[in-house]
């Protein structure tokens, strides 16, 4: 069944690589433009569950890799759909039309990595308070520097004036 | 006249002492059932003393007034309740007035809480009023059966006609007595009927905004309401008390059995509580009314 799926995907979406790193795990590497059609296709195939969206910062390659984790209630197969976007102005179409629960995942990734999702109505911060720096999960964000800057300059009560 | 004034002072005082003692006792018993050591038995008193030394927050005039009204209502009810031969307001309306002044209690808290502008309070009060509608159905039937059995609305007469050992619980009214016993936890707000002030769901409901002396007063109010509910049961069904010791003993027996129920049951949802209250206690109370009409 898995092989069948692989064959069909490769047939329809030409520039998609399909791998099986381990049992019951399928990795699809595809292009930005193919993301929505592939997700739609997979959803039709029965992978109705979007479990999470995660993001990897490939700083040397200058790219963010967005990973969409799908699973199905019928088969034990897990699918990871990987898409890469440029690091300079990371922007990608939202998948809310297909999986509505993507809204919060996208909001989180926007907050922590700065990837912009076109069409997502609410990308306001979830966890951070009053954040003015680089998004904190980027690899070029120096957390120790930031801590020094932000927290250590706040005085103790004893140091008052 | 002097006796009268002493009675006026002594009865709320006794009620307060008994109520606070019962609060402490319930905490101790629950602790022992949990196999804990438990707080000292005067812990509620310590809490009240502490609370009176804390700065409370007030949301407005009605926030204070409602609470005071509720407490004043409790005191008036206590003045109407005969115990151990003390009944300061004997001839001023009887059981019906007690029933009505008992309205002050939830209503005062409800008004005070409403000013608090907190939805937790509103939900708590809504639950409180619905629950009270739930237990009022059997409660009113019980009271009516007692009143029509003894053909009087004066509670002193009811107590007097149970002199000797002719307690109403052992008379044809025993079904009503059992029904009253079954709704007592709901009237006291004890488990399994503590949905009103469920701390985990609605943060103690009507008491959310109470701090400092407000909370202290609401504890005192709770103590009073424990006294009122159980004293009413003792007066109506266990023949009152010849002296304060007997009266206290009867109350103690009733209260300890309530606490035993309280300490082992989980909380009921409101619908479950209503379904319970409108089924068995109501059926028993209904039969009680019919029996009281036939046998009288």
């Amino acid at each position: 069944m898995d092989k069948e799926l692989k064959r069909r995907i490769e047939e329809i979406y030409k520039d998609t690589e399909v791998e099986f790193p381990e049992a019951n795990r399928m990795v699809l590497k595809t292009k930005k433009e193919n993301l929505l059609p592939i997700l739609e296709f997979l959803k039709r195939e029965g992978f109705r569950q979007l479990k999470a969206i995660s993001c990897v910062d490939w700083i040397e390659e200058g790219e963010f890799e967005l990973v969409y984790l799908l699973s199905s209630l019928n088969t034990p197969l897990h699918i990871m759909v990987k898409v890469r976007v440029g690091r300079e102005s990371p922007e990608i179409e939202t998948i809310m039309k297909i999986f509505e629960n993507a809204q919060v995942y996208e909001r989180e990734i926007h907050e922590l990595f700065g990837v912009k999702f076109r069409g997502n109505p609410d990308l306001s911060p979830l966890f951070l308070e009053n954040w003015q720096n680089l998004p904190p999960f980027r690899k070029d964000f120096d957390t120790r520097e930031y801590v020094k800057e932000k927290f250590e300059q706040i005085p103790f009560v004893e140091e008052k004036k | 006249m002097v006796m009268k004034i002493i009675e006026f002072i002594i009865s709320p005082l006794v009620a307060f002492i008994i109520g606070v003692f019962f609060l402490g006792l319930s905490r101790k018993i629950v602790a022992r059932i949990h196999q804990r050591y438990g707080p000292p038995i005067i812990q509620p008193l310590l809490d009240v003393i502490k609370l009176f030394h804390q700065k409370g927050f007030s949301h407005g005039v009605l926030f204070d007034l409602g609470l005071i009204l509720s407490l004043a209502g409790s005191i008036v009810v206590i003045l109407f309740l005969p115990f151990a031969g003390i009944c300061p307001l004997k001839s001023s309306g009887g059981l019906l007035v007690i029933l009505y002044v008992m309205l002050f209690l939830p209503l005062g808290i409800a008004l005070s809480g409403g000013e608090g502008a907190n939805p937790n309070i509103s939900i708590g009060i809504s639950r409180k009023l619905i629950l009270s509608l739930g237990y009022e159905v059997p409660f009113l039937l019980i009271i009516l059966s007692v009143m029509s059995f003894y053909r009087t609305i004066s509670i002193v007469d009811i107590v007097n006609s149970q002199g000797g050992f002719r307690w109403a619980l052992f008379s044809p009214l025993f079904l009503s007595g059992i029904a009253y016993f079954m709704i007592l936890p709901a009237m006291l707000g004890m488990r399994p009927f503590d949905i009103v002030s469920a701390p985990q769901e609605i943060s103690t409901g009507p008491q959310v905004e109470y701090g400092g002396k407000y909370l202290g007063l609401s504890h005192i109010q709770h103590a009073f309401s424990i006294f009122i509910t159980i004293a009413l049961f003792v007066d109506l069904f266990l023949g009152g008390g010849e002296n304060i010791f007997y009266f206290f003993l009867k109350m103690l027996v009733v209260f300890v059995s309530m606490v035993l129920i309280h300490s082992v049951f989980p909380r009921l949802r409101l619908e479950q509580a209503l379904r319970y209250l409108w089924r068995w206690p109501t059926v028993l109370a209904f039969l009680g009314v019919i029996i009281s009409q036939i046998v009288r």
Binding site: E129 | D47, K50, G212
Partner: protein, 187 residues
């Protein structure tokens, strides 16, 4: 202790009341809250000391900050602390509130809680044992007795300072100041 000394109760009922009826606000911040259920239930039974958890800050006078504090939690902690009636006591629990603990270089976790709200006592350890809570409570009794548990007074006195520290983290806070700031400058 002197819980049973009637003379003291009559002399200074307020202080004795605060000592022996510590009501803790039920506020979970970090991993330390795991230690609280054994403390309040049958194994260690905090109720024998008069310590019980209550539902809202309005009813409480003891605030246990249990574990690391993220920025968002700090906002809630400040709000909760300001809603508690005076006198109020705070105990910081575990090493994270003291100096950040294992989160010393985290971008979103507070390093020193006492920069933002006053703390009366610290319990060190990662995590402290439940017994440590009782030691803290008895220490707190002594501090209240000697009048050293004065965090709320310090807060009122240095409110402008604390508020400024808080606003350095959060920008402008949505709620109005607890105490008037201008008056404090004059006096």
């Amino acid at each position: 202790m002197d819980r049973k000394s009637i003379v003291k109760w009559i002399k200074e009922p307020g202080k004795m009341g605060h000592k022996y009826s510590l009501w803790a606000v039920y506020f979970c911040t970090g991993c330390g809250i795991i230690e609280i259920p054994p403390v309040i239930t049958a194994r260690w039974d905090a109720e024998r000391f008069g310590v019980i958890p209550v539902a809202t800050p309005r009813q409480a006078n003891l605030f246990m900050i249990t574990g690391y504090v993220s920025l968002k939690t700090l906002k809630a902690i400040i709000r909760t602390y300001e809603q508690m009636p005076e006198p109020k006591y705070t105990v910081a629990f575990g090493s994270c509130p003291i100096n950040g603990g294992m989160y010393w270089d985290s971008y979103n976790t507070i390093k020193h809680i006492d920069k933002y709200i006053p703390i009366d006592g610290w319990i060190a350890g990662c995590m402290p044992r439940p017994e440590a809570i009782f030691i803290a409570v008895t220490k707190l009794w002594m501090m209240i007795d000697k009048g050293k548990a004065d965090g709320y007074i310090r807060y009122r006195k240095n409110y402008k300072f604390y508020r400024r520290n808080q606003e350095k983290l959060f920008g402008k806070l949505p709620w109005p100041p607890l105490y008037p700031i201008e008056e404090e400058e004059n006096g």
